[in-house]
Amino acid sequence: MNRIVSEDYDPDFIEELDSSEITGAFSGCLACRTCTSGCPVHRANNEYDPLRIMRMLTFGLKDELIGGDMIWLCSDCYTCQENCPMGIKVTDIINHLKNMATSAKHTPIGVSTQEKLLKDQGKIYIIDDFDNKKRTKAGLPPLPEINEEAKKLLEKR
């Protein structure tokens, strides 16, 4: 694990996230490590560490956070957020960071492939004739193959 380099400090990044309506403030973080101690992903791979993410945020290390792989290991389970004694929306913040990383074109290939599928089809899985035959045979109503209106809603996004 590398040491935190304070020359990379980006105050605008702190201000943008700390004042975000979506994520709420993070600057009350006590660094108590409650987030990391309950994290199931941390137990599987200690390279992933929500407290480290929170500290990197506090130090304004934008490029390192959104250019790195760590945020993408978050399983979105909300354990850290539910446990945080300061009520910091840790999971919502990490999700917001993933969005920022995507804007900067740092997205794992599996995630961006799924995003493209969804924007092309309006759903993740196409329901083809074969699926609909199986559905009808099981007494389930048939479904449209893709969703044109949802596709239209996501056009140009």
Binding site: W72, T79, N99
Partner: protein, 291 residues
């Protein structure tokens, strides 16, 4: 009691056993499901990369249910959280709602804020009630030991869920199991995640997270595992063989969706509950219950 049934993407494509059993159980309990063909993906898979796109998809789905004056009953926990969270935000943030409605207006639709979204299991507790569920039982589950996996989005983030269950000490799913005559088994790490959402970025970590739980379920001596989300099912049922190989374990734990267990207690048969579609074989289980 009428609800629009929100299936999402994964259930109709890969979890027909969940859909079949939920429809069968609902019908036994007097719930009527209305299918809305125009429903799309809930938006959840876009939340990490294009949050506004995710909100738009969710808002459109909410608007479709509102047009029919129906509540949404969702089977998938991720869909439930995406739709609930979006309604929560749009009901509190006027600016966001105006922005969303501007986009929806191009499709001739609008989000008004009248729709309610709840997970199928929550509706069973709140609208049907444990007493009625108990009275629907006609088959003895013979002390079937069940380890329940609540998963994450059925309960969390709790700020969107009106306190219907406690994410630190959840009970609702086990109350339903108790009502149908199953025995609830406690196991280590019961509240933890299935690992599913990490699958797209790091498969090995995802399997480690799921494997740890399966190991503890086995150690606790459970006969089966119970869950309410198709992503969790993918990790524990579909990937169980892979986890056995990775960890060098023999698990062989049947993983059932909640309505498959309720349906067994109601006297429904294997076909009605889609039990042949489960990855880990369920024939020994049903033979034991004389199904």
């Amino acid at each position: 009691m009428k609800y629009s049934l929100f299936l999402g993407c994964t259930i109709p494509a890969r979890s027909r056993n969940y859909e079949l059993s939920a429809r069968a159980v609902a019908s036994q309990l007097g719930m009527e499901f209305i299918d809305i063909d125009e429903f799309s993906c809930c938006g959840f898979p876009l939340e990490a990369t294009d949050e506004m796109g995710a909100i738009l998809l969710a808002a459109r789905n909410l608007a479709l249910a509102e047009e029919k004056n129906l509540e949404i009953c969702s089977l998938c926990s991720a869909c439930t959280s995406m739709l609930t969270k979006t309604a929560y935000r749009l009901n509190r943030d006027r600016e966001l709602r105006d922005k969303v409605n501007h986009e929806l207006s191009k499709l001739g639709r609008a989000y008004k804020g009248t729709v309610r979204v709840r997970h199928f299991a929550r509706i069973l507790i709140e609208d049907i009630g444990l007493e009625k569920i108990k009275n629907s039982v006609s088959r003895d589950l013979k002390g079937l030991k069940v380890a329940t996996h609540y998963g994450c989005h059925y309960l969390k983030p709790s700020y969107i869920y009106e306190g219907f269950d406690d994410p630190q000490d959840p009970k609702t799913l086990e109350e339903i199991l108790e009502a149908v005559g199953a025995v609830n088994i406690q196991y280590r790490r019961k509240k933890d995640c299935c690992g599913g959402p990490v699958l797209l970025s790091d498969e090995s970590v995802a399997l480690d997270v799921a494997g740890e739980k399966l190991k503890y379920v086995k150690e606790a001596g459970a006969d089966i595992m119970n869950l309410v989300c198709p992503f969790c099912d993918l990790m524990f049922d579909s990937n169980q063989k892979g986890i056995e190989a990775k960890f060098g374990l023999e698990l062989n734990i049947p993983v059932l969706y909640l309505p498959q267990i309720i349906g067994l207690a109601m006297g429904l048969d294997r076909k009605e509950l889609g039990l042949n579609l489960n990855s880990v074989n369920t024939k020994d289980l049903t033979a034991r219950l004389e199904v």
